[in-house]
Symmetry: C2
């Protein structure tokens, strides 16, 4: 089978050469273990944290020579565990490989493989709308953002898995939704998903587009980016605006500091003068099963669409993952189709 290992720690934005595709023997399941064949691999931006020489998150770290970490949807192809049968489809974090052996009774705090119901929705949505990105979007719009009817919501990285869902959930709540994305294709895609307006941060007239889309300012700013895009939005926030922080991809390749000048003074000025409420989405705030049930219901009612961008084959994962950080043009959840 094929697997992708980390060739060297990433420095700044990841490059395809940070990874290496290898052949490896298909592992064999022992007592209480299950053999999984990977169907789908999700290319979450958060994976960047795992491949830094510095420990940037509390959870997972991959060292050179080790198989890459990543969330997956897989089929059970052999089972020595009574809870899993051949043919079951599960979501887990088995990494960038075609096959993996897992021991459900020895799972870490994230729990054993989660069995999926293919009748509910395509199983790939377990990595997007019906998984962590969906729970994140739900928590940021409803739990943290408290978006109400008639409010205006602005979302950065709106074409991403979290942003595209957050915008649709905010629309269901009765809000007017403005998305920020890179390039005219993504912006058109947002309008196709029902966003009321879109602003292209790569366009020379981004500031004008943003001002035009937010003539009366925004009540809620769901930020997935940080950096220049975030700083451009701040002047458009109303007094008392809420700002759920769901991610900060502009800084993922940095440690605690970035190139100067220091932008904290202006950020504090905005916090103070506008009475902003900023709240981080720590992973521990996931919306839980209620979030997944809500989203599954909205999908069934046709009120939420789950765009996916798919690349074929595990070998394509390094370049696709690097593209996440250089502003590629995918809309929705970025997936690798590892096997059919």
């Amino acid at each position: 089978m094929k697997q992708v290992v980390l060739a060297s720690y990433a420095s700044g934005n990841p490059k395809p050469s940070d990874f290496r595709v290898e052949d490896a023997p298909i592992p064999q399941p022992g007592e209480g273990e299950v053999l999984l064949r990977t169907l789908w691999l999700g290319l979450d931006p958060l994976i960047r944290f795992a491949i830094d020489e510095k420990r940037l998150s509390g959870v997972t770290q991959v060292h050179p020579g080790e198989v890459m970490y990543g969330p997956t949807v897989s089929a059970v192809v052999a089972s020595n565990h009574p809870g899993y049968a051949v043919g079951d489809v599960v979501e887990d974090r088995t990494g960038w490989r075609e096959y993996a052996v897992v021991a459900p009774d020895k799972a870490d705090w994230r729990g054993p493989p989660r069995k999926l119901d293919p009748a509910l929705a395509p199983v790939s949505t377990a990595l997007g709308a019906l998984g962590m990105p969906g729970q994140t979007a739900h928590a940021c719009v409803i739990g943290i953002g408290r978006v109400a009817a008639g409010e205006t919501v602005v979302i950065s990285a709106a074409a991403g898995a979290v942003g595209s869902l957050a915008g649709q959930i905010a629309r269901i709540r009765g809000a007017r939704v403005v998305g920020i994305a890179g390039g005219p294709d993504k912006c058109r895609g947002l309008l196709g998903l029902g966003f009321d307006a879109a602003a292209d941060y790569k366009a020379p007239d981004f500031a004008e587009q943003l001002a035009k889309a937010l003539p009366e300012g925004a009540d809620v700013f769901i930020d997935n980016v940080g950096g220049e895009v975030m700083l451009a939005v701040l002047p458009h926030l109303k007094r008392g605006a809420r700002m759920p922080v769901c991610g900060f991809i502009a800084y993922y390749g940095m440690g605690m500091e970035g190139p100067g000048p220091d932008k904290l003074p202006g950020f504090f000025r905005a916090i103070m003068s506008k009475g902003l409420e900023i709240k981080g989405f720590g992973g521990f705030l996931v919306g839980g099963q209620q979030a997944l049930d809500d989203i599954a219901g909205w999908i069934a009612e046709g009120r939420i669409r789950c765009p996916e961008s798919v690349v074929e084959g595990l070998e394509a994962a390094p370049e696709a993952f690097a593209g996440v950080f250089s502003g590629n043009s995918h809309l929705g959840k970025l997936l690798v189709k590892v096997s059919g």
Copy 2:
């Protein structure tokens, strides 16, 4: 009479030479007007916003040659207004001068001169515990910080007017309170006010002092400072900690940017990984009359003390104000006694 005018816009931290003491004729009250003799002048750090060439706040700006802005307590010495009698004591914002004429019926959004009850507390407290700083402390501890019994609260600029009150209010709420201040005298002063521990940010072992004072981390961080002190506290905050931002004196002399490197990446990392809740105290969130009533009650019960540091005479104001930004050693509210 004497008055202090702005000699030139401040650049960075204010210097005494940014100001000039002048003689001027005592103004005469016209129809509907009142002549006030200044008793006390409060040297709020926020005054820094008013004396920058750039407009840093929405409210007040002083240009070179104009009399300095500032909150005051004054005695009515002549009145052509039925609501004010000679001998009344009022709080207003009449600036750095010995006499001023005001027109109560033409007041701005901040309202007409507020009449004080000298029986309630010394009138100087209208500039501190029973005025804006008291309302700020009340709002940050109770309204924004939601401090509960058994929690640990850490406060920066704890020896200042807001910080020293916030710590005492948090103690009344049943919290354990750690104050950060500059120098051993201020730190001793905090312990004298009932703080459970103090850390001296000017000491070479500040990091160790802070770690020792917060062995299990903090639930609430009331920040009046920003900058290096704020960044030193972040690692000690618990998951889900609340962080009311009451001020950011480290940045008052800057516009939107400070010297590099950019510290926003680390700040966003903390927001996200800890699920921090940060909320700015916009002036519009003042606790109102309830805050003043609560604090007056606590003063009467002897549960809150209102330390004041007094400099004598209007001529002393420029140097005392500059000292606020160079880390002077005053404890509590910094006041100029303009007349007796």
